[in-house]
Amino acid sequence: MDIGEGLMLMGKFIGAGLAMGIGAIGAGIGEGRIGASAMEAMARQPEMIGTLTTRMILADAIAETTGIYSLVIAFMILLVV
């Protein structure tokens, strides 16, 4: 392995790690806020827990989307290019 190939591998790994790590920040904050609000609503109205849990999971899955995009980009960097 010559030095050019090594540099390319290093760039790939650092790039994939950064893409996943930075991309997870937004999704993490979003899901945390959704969970906090759902907990608050559940504490206020315990009889609505069933409905709120379903809605919370749906909203979580949508907030997760940006994290999933960065996962796709990281896989593309690692496996495709």
Partner: protein, 279 residues
């Protein structure tokens, strides 16, 4: 909660659990070598003619798509006769379709479009959920080799879910995109449909076009990333623990739980994209 299991339920659960134990015994006994070669690689077949984009096909996607369609049609034939007092399968299906019908009825304002949009949404939901569930059971998979051949592996990976191929998801999302604009033309007429691209001011036209193109792209990438990311994650974690206990739990979480949620979200977004254009 008290579970009332009939004898056939117990037999079914026993068969599932026994099958899992048999898979573990098979893997341990044959000393299968776990390797990470071919992760994220696809088996691509080059047709003998031409060099264009249509000359390369993904055979596993085509085969598994037909398998999924066969399963859906088989399910449809089993509950064909709708009785007044529903049985087990019929009540499950009725509850599922009733939920989607309520979703469509709540978001579509025009009464005459509720039924066709429900047909589209329910068929999308059934196809996507069955193909996500297929990706949660261990089965046969094909891995391309460096030399150009193909190696078939048994029980080292789950069945290939058709939704973990971006082409499939893009096709489904493009179908929703085309149908939404067909309904928009039908409701508004050609003139006011064309005018809707110049909505606030005429120079917003490129931004409106980009917004319309981004819809099917994000729609497809959301499903693709979840299913393919899940399958690769299961492979890597299963490689760490040598497939003993963890993959079953992961297959349950990623295939069944996330698969059901993502199928539901795919359907909800399809309903939202179609109904937002026929307001």
């Amino acid at each position: 909660m008290k579970l009332n299991l009939t004898k056939s339920d117990k037999i079914f659960l026993g068969v599932v659990f026994g099958g899992y134990v048999a898979v573990i015994i098979y893997i341990v006994a044959t000393g299968y070598k776990f390797q990470l070669e071919g992760v994220g690689q696809r088996w691509i077949y080059q047709m003998p003619f031409g060099e264009g984009p249509l000359s390369r096909i993904n055979p596993l996607t085509i085969i598994m798509t037909w398998v999924v369609m066969g399963i859906v049609i088989f399910m449809a034939t089993r509950v064909k006769v709708f009785k007044l007092v529903p049985g087990k399968k019929q009540s499950l299906l009725e509850a599922l379709l009733d939920y989607i019908y309520d979703l469509v009825k709540d978001s579509v304002s025009r009464k005459e479009f509720v039924r066709p949009i429900f047909d589209i949404a329910a068929s999308l939901f059934l196809f996507v959920i069955v193909s996500n569930f297929i990706g949660s059971f261990p089965g046969i998979n094909a891995i391309p080799l460096e030399s150009g051949g193909v190696k078939f592996t048994i029980l080292s990976d789950s069945w290939y879910a058709p939704t973990s191929d971006l082409n499939m998801n893009l096709m489904l999302a493009f179908f929703v995109f085309v149908m939404s604009h067909v309904y928009a033309i039908k409701v508004k007429g050609w003139k006011s449909w064309g005018k809707s691209f110049f909505e606030p001011i005429w120079w917003m036209f490129p931004i409106n076009i980009i917004g319309e193109i981004a819809k099917p792209l994000s729609h497809a990438l959301r499903l693709f990333g979840n299913i393919m990311g899940g399958s690769i994650l299961i492979l890597i974690l299963g490689y760490l623990v040598k497939y003993f206990v963890l993959p079953a739990a992961l297959w349950g979480i990623f295939g069944l739980f996330f698969g059901a949620i993502q199928a539901l979200i795919f359907t909800i977004l399809a309903i939202a994209y179609i109904s937002s254009l026929i307001e």
